[in-house]
């Protein structure tokens, strides 16, 4: 083939790219043709998702919670769900299509994923009509509540980043050092019931 520096590899075919390139961006780039209603989504969700995520997205056992948790982000124990935390609906469609159901990924049709995404919007009170139909045409009109609450990495502005001087080496504390917490006497529970918040 022409081009390239080393002439290695071969040209990818359109079918090959279509098979693997299934990602969707917040601006809708990558969305397939299709649609699904909340009512259709409820049936699909009950059959494919509820066993782990609960009938109302509340999560079973330690499986992820998908709905609720609004206005908990400043609580001592925030509940981070699609409705309370996720910034973009595109991520819901993309992730369900690529990786769910857990253990049987890539088994849902594009229309199935539209319907399940619509139902997840319903569980999170973002749409309230069971007849609501989500499609590639109205998809980007939907905004999730927490979109504006994500900020760029501004760690460098934290006080301990600014101090590039030599750290204290001797007599660094005024009062005697006291132990304030012991691992051995703490009731060990992971900080969250999320599937991988702890890892």
């Amino acid at each position: 083939r022409d081009g390239g520096v080393f002439g290695l590899g071969r040209v990818a075919t359109e079918d090959e790219i279509a098979a693997w390139d299934i990602d969707v961006r917040p601006d809708g780039m990558g969305l397939p043709q299709g649609s699904g209603t909340v009512a259709d989504g409820e049936v699909l969700y009950t059959d494919n998702c509820a066993v782990c995520h609960g009938d109302f997205g509340e999560g079973v056992g330690r499986w992820p919670v998908l709905a609720g948790g609004q206005d908990t982000l400043t609580d001592e124990r925030p509940e981070k769900t699609i409705g309370s935390y996720w910034p973009y609906l595109s991520t819901v469609y993309d992730y369900v299509r690529r990786a769910m159901p857990y253990g049987n990924a890539r088994s849902l049709s594009d229309d199935d994923v539209y319907a399940i995404t619509a139902y997840l919007l319903y569980l999170n009170d973002i749409v309230e009509d069971e007849d609501f139909e989500l499609s590639n045409e109205n998809f980007t009109e939907i905004r999730l509540p927490n979109e504006e609450n994500f900020i760029a990495d501004d760690r460098a502005e934290e006080p301990h980043y600014a101090d590039k001087g030599d750290p204290c080496m001797s007599d660094c504390k005024d009062s005697p050092v006291e132990i304030t917490m012991h691992a051995q006497i703490l009731d060990v529970t992971p900080g969250s019931v999320d599937d991988n918040d702890a890892a």
């Binding site: 290695l8 040209v11 006080p159 750290p167 504390k173 691992a183 702890a198």
Partner: protein
Amino acid sequence: MNDETVSQSPNLSRRTLLKAGLATGVAAGAAGAAHAGGDPLITEVQDWNRYLGEGVQSRPYGTPSEFEAHVVRRDVEWLTASTESSVNFTPLQDLDGIITPNGLCFERHHGGIAEINPADHRLMINGLVDTPLVFTMEDLKRFPRENRVYFLECAANSGMEWRGSQLNGCQYTHGMVHCVMYTGVPLKLILEEAGIKTNGKWVMPEGADASAMTRSIPMEKALDDCLVAFKMNGEALRPEQGYPLRLVVPGWEGNMWVKWLRRIEVGDEPWHQREETSKYTDLLESGKARRFTWVMDAKSVVTNPSPQAPITHGKGPLVISGVAWSGNGRITRVDVSIDGGRNWKTARLDGPSLSKAMHRFYLDIDWDGSDLLIQSRAMDESGYFQPTKTELRAARGENSIYHNNGIQTWHVKADGTVENVEVS
């Protein structure tokens, strides 16, 4: 001692962790208390001194001695809902130097370990490129290669400690890190082979496993030092580390080091995938959350003594040892305190000092048998030094989950046992 499994009961877990820590330490006694006629291990002929051992054909791929059976990855069952989307931990307390043995590198999967025949593996480059390409493993091994030593740290390493001391052992508090030598092709060469269009500002690697892991990476980083690696420590990647192909993203959070790498897309905007929105975003006290917190800041931990590696030899010479690393370059200095941060001594860095790699430090002291509060504080070449947990919590609150690089304290008691504590 055999591998201890951690029970689902938190109470049992704590006892088990403590027991595991003690059991590994007591085997090695003093150098043979002399009996009347001397140490029988010396005065009597031993079996291994008399009989033939196994021949060279018995161990075509060698494994550690049976006496090292306790040196294993361990998991904490109650941390996650499923072992296939979970993590285990590198036994840092049993290791030395800077290179992690391949079989002990911690694992973090989101859809279990994909088992892929390299003959069946493909790497696709598509998106904003002149020519979308497909490579076989054979193709990739014809590009010029590099060998580089890098640490890989999970963004959630020490995440369970944000609210305070929780897990009793540096394997559990700091073991989501490893450091190996990678052999691979600079990502730059592969991208240039396809030809990056002028509006190609981001790349997105994707895995071939059941989680189809995806992350957005800025083009500047992709062209800088990322590798598409097929070997670790000289041999093929282990399946649990992405065999036959993984991305290496030096200094950046482990989640971005996509395993079982099958596709790289070039785009003009980030994709905002699940692992950079729902996950790997850092919630602050204000309710705002940071995204794209890629770099792993300077960090260190004393691995010995530590809860799983108590002092069993009594007073006198004591080697305090640990590891330090920074996503911003080389570690230039590690200070160690034995009094909870009141006073510090600069430790000795030993072995290679490589950018974005693990460093080994030692402080040799004469232990008088009194209680110690051991801490280590790393500095990197940018001038940044490791903060206290108090400083981090003041800046971020306690719900960030990720990027906890605060200074760790171990309480060494007079009997030589060690506990994970926090201090004022």
